[in-house]
């Protein structure tokens, strides 16, 4: 049936060719006169530092020619019916995508701030059906005559490809990964505290001790708050402690936590205090002064945390 398909294509091309020579824009008028701010924004975007585009004798960069004629967000009010009909015809044939392929500009006189830009455009040619890497469609070429204060300033020939996108290999929607139970946040481990977390891995709760004045400190810090010495060693906590203070978390909820739960400030037998969860006791039975004992809770395959088991009564 190739002949029929070719005949169909030829007939469609005849329809399209009927638009050649018809106007694409009639008595178009730039939304703004040529102006310094738009010139400066253009030069900033392009990284163009030519002195020709600044100062009292500034001209607009010639390559801005088309920019002055753009409809912007508010669109074109001067596009011709013929051009819209041509694009609609192509849309109807499945050529819904558009890409600009060629731009040929000739500059007849420089544009200067204050110039009023007007333009007319004509549909110069519509190609036969072409197959490109992007898809199959038709090239539409327009030629625009641009005037400044009524004098010819330049011509702008522009070619677009209106095409039917090449069939993209239908990709099945990517299956969502199986829902993982939420994981607790990871501790931030850095050079100042990594010794602490090494201790946790070995099920040892390590407290820093200043090598100069023997003051214990927790959490881990690079220097001593009492004497400022940066030298330190560690002592291992016995694991005994008491609840110094606590809160019960109800809200807000965090993934991986199951409210309500108690978070305590535990005073270790050695004298320093640390924050941890209380286990073994309902959240509403935690009390200040309650004796607790250190244990290590495996939260998930990568993380163990020191927590404190309370004993009621």
């Amino acid at each position: 049936m190739t002949a029929t398909a070719d005949e169909e294509a030829a007939r469609f091309h005849e329809l399209l060719k009927a638009f050649e020579g018809r106007p694409a824009a009639i008595a178009g008028r730039a939304k703004d006169p040529v102006n310094e701010p738009m010139i400066r924004h253009w030069c900033e975007a392009m990284g163009d530092t030519s002195p020709a585009y600044t100062g009292p004798d500034a001209i607009a960069p010639p390559t801005m020619l088309q920019a002055w004629t753009m409809g912007g967000l508010s669109g074109h009010s001067d596009r011709s019916c013929a051009y819209d009909q041509l694009l609609a015809l192509l849309d109807g044939a499945g050529c819904t995508s558009v890409v600009a392929t060629d731009c040929e500009q000739e500059y007849l006189r420089p544009l200067r701030p204050g110039d009023a830009v007007t333009f007319d455009a004509v549909i110069e040619s519509v190609s036969a059906r072409k197959t490109t890497k992007l898809g199959t469609g038709h090239f539409v070429t327009t030629r625009m005559d641009v005037r400044a204060n009524g004098e010819p300033a330049g011509t702008h020939r522009f070619r677009i490809l209106k095409y039917r996108p090449a069939a993209t290999t239908a990709q099945p929607a990517r299956p969502l990964p199986p829902k993982q139970p939420a994981r607790r946040p990871r501790p931030v481990i850095n050079r100042d505290n990594h010794g602490f977390w090494e201790g946790v891995r070995a099920h040892r709760l390590l407290i820093q001790r200043c090598s100069s004045c023997a003051t214990l400190r927790f959490p881990w810090l690079p220097g001593c708050n009492a004497c400022a010495s940066p030298e330190w060693g560690t002592v291992e906590a016995s694991g005994a402690g008491t609840v110094f203070s606590y809160v019960v978390m109800h809200h807000p909820p965090f993934p991986a936590f199951d409210p309500p739960y108690a978070v305590a400030l535990v005073e270790l037998a050695e004298g320093v205090r640390m924050i941890g969860n209380i286990t073994g006791v309902p959240y509403d039975k935690v009390r200040i002064g309650m004796p607790v004992r250190l244990e290590f809770l495996r939260v998930d395959e990568d993380l163990e945390l020191p927590v404190f088991r309370g004993s009621e009564g």
Binding site: M38, H41, W42, E44, A45, M46, G47, D48, S50, P51, A52, P61, P62, T63, M64, Q66, A67, M70, G71, G72, L73, S97, V99, A100, T101, D102, C103, E104, Q105, E106, Y107, P110, P165, T168
Partner: protein, 132 residues
Amino acid sequence: MNVGDTLAPLEIPVTRTLIVAGAIASRDYQDVHHDAELARAKGSPDIFMNILTTNGLVGRYITDRLGPYAVLRKVAIRLGAPNYPGDTMTLSGTVTALNGNTAEIRVTGANGIGHHVTGTVTVTLGAEEVPA
């Protein structure tokens, strides 16, 4: 300047910012030049540079290399491989014709996936560039 001379290349890092800034400075609000999600919905892997920005960069390349007294007369470009964010486009130029003080320069802008732009620029040379 002689026919066959080459211009020093110019490397343009194709950043997302350049693509968006160029599109907006040229008043081109087509979504494929600023909205990656909509660009992907239209089959493009990402946003890509619009032709007006390419045109502006080609013009800049010529006047950067030939000096502020060089005057652009014609710029004719054809686009090929799109300029996507993260790529680098290297512009290079060769003098293909010289007629009095008017030169014709063949320009190519190559990126990581091919020739983004090929074109011809006709330029009137400034006083210092006019051949003796």
